[in-house]
Amino acid sequence: MFSQFFGQYLLERQHISPDQFRLVMALRDFSKAKLGFLAINAGYMTAAQVDDIHASQTVADKRFGEIALEEGALDQNQLETLLTQQAAMHVSLGQTLVDEGMMELADLERILAEYKRDCGLSESEFAALKSGETDVLAESLGKMPGLGPDNVYGGYLALFARNLVRFVDDNIKLERARLVEEAPYDLLVYQALLGRQNLFTGLAGPEGATGKFAICYGKLESVNRELTVDALGEFLNVQNGLFVTRLSNRYLEMDLGVPGHHCGGRLRTAGVMYAVPVVLPFGYVELIVATDEPAVF
């Protein structure tokens, strides 16, 4: 996640060009290796076992390694070996920039300091970003006071970030949740969570980005409006299903409403509404969370 955050900063401040940004992100992606791939490579697991665990992640909010241990697909020693391998293989964005001759080390150091000053993150948030503690960062950025009790609605954004990384793209950049009265959209797919206190959730964005989101999530070759709405609705179903299950484990019952969609308008609320911009490699979408179903204009 740090690479996406810092990479966007470099691009916005024109320290690198869009082509250079795409190149370094591609090189960085090439150097990453998912745990499942490493496990197959090491002969610890078969492709079928890896696929099975990926499928399990859609119904349980757990990391690959956790599920592999629980199901006996890996033992602790094997998992630690793979995690060590993964860390050793990872090439940082900064190293890539220097290795590819796009930046001198001294310039990188200076720009990193500027980024830390300009990024709008607190010390603890920046530390979480640098150390890859996505959950810690997402929990902090996703604070939405006024939505309801934190022990009920807290963690929604962190769960959303985990699901994005697992099922859409692992290069995501979250921004801080913003309290808004109005939220414009090209396409909005929404789902209400119904309980003692209702929660309105939605994904909004321009046609291009929402279409690409749908292609990534639905593993589709192409999309039209109908398939985009369908895929975003299914993603919200998974997100909200996991969230509601977690609440249920705390004896708080909520139900899922029927997903719906609107095109080209604005949401307006008299209650509490937050918008959380999420930057993905193919564009941005916004997560909308509100206490009541907003009026549509």
Partner: protein, 120 residues
Amino acid sequence: MARVLVVDDSIISRNSLKAILAQGGHEVAGEAGNGEDAVTLYQELRPDIVTLDITMPRVNGLECLRRIMAADATAKVVMVSALGQGTKVLEAMESGARHYLTKPFRGAVVLEAIRAVLAA
């Protein structure tokens, strides 16, 4: 081999289920994107099994289940739900559904449910 009627307002979910059923050697007798069409198609096709999404607009899965059971008390219906819909699944089972599946689908789980319902 079962003849299956697939009912879900999500095209992606229908396609996913259809692919799994085909891999398992089952025939997709028909598909419906809403509860009203599902009841009509059931009466036309008389499939061995119906897979029925719980959350659909207008006529939801539970109401659709009741209408199918009213038309045919021997109907074999497998409910499909998202996670976190345990209460609705329970209500469906009490209304005559034989089994349930959770989205997103896992191939082995789907085929085992179909096998179990066929064998019952």
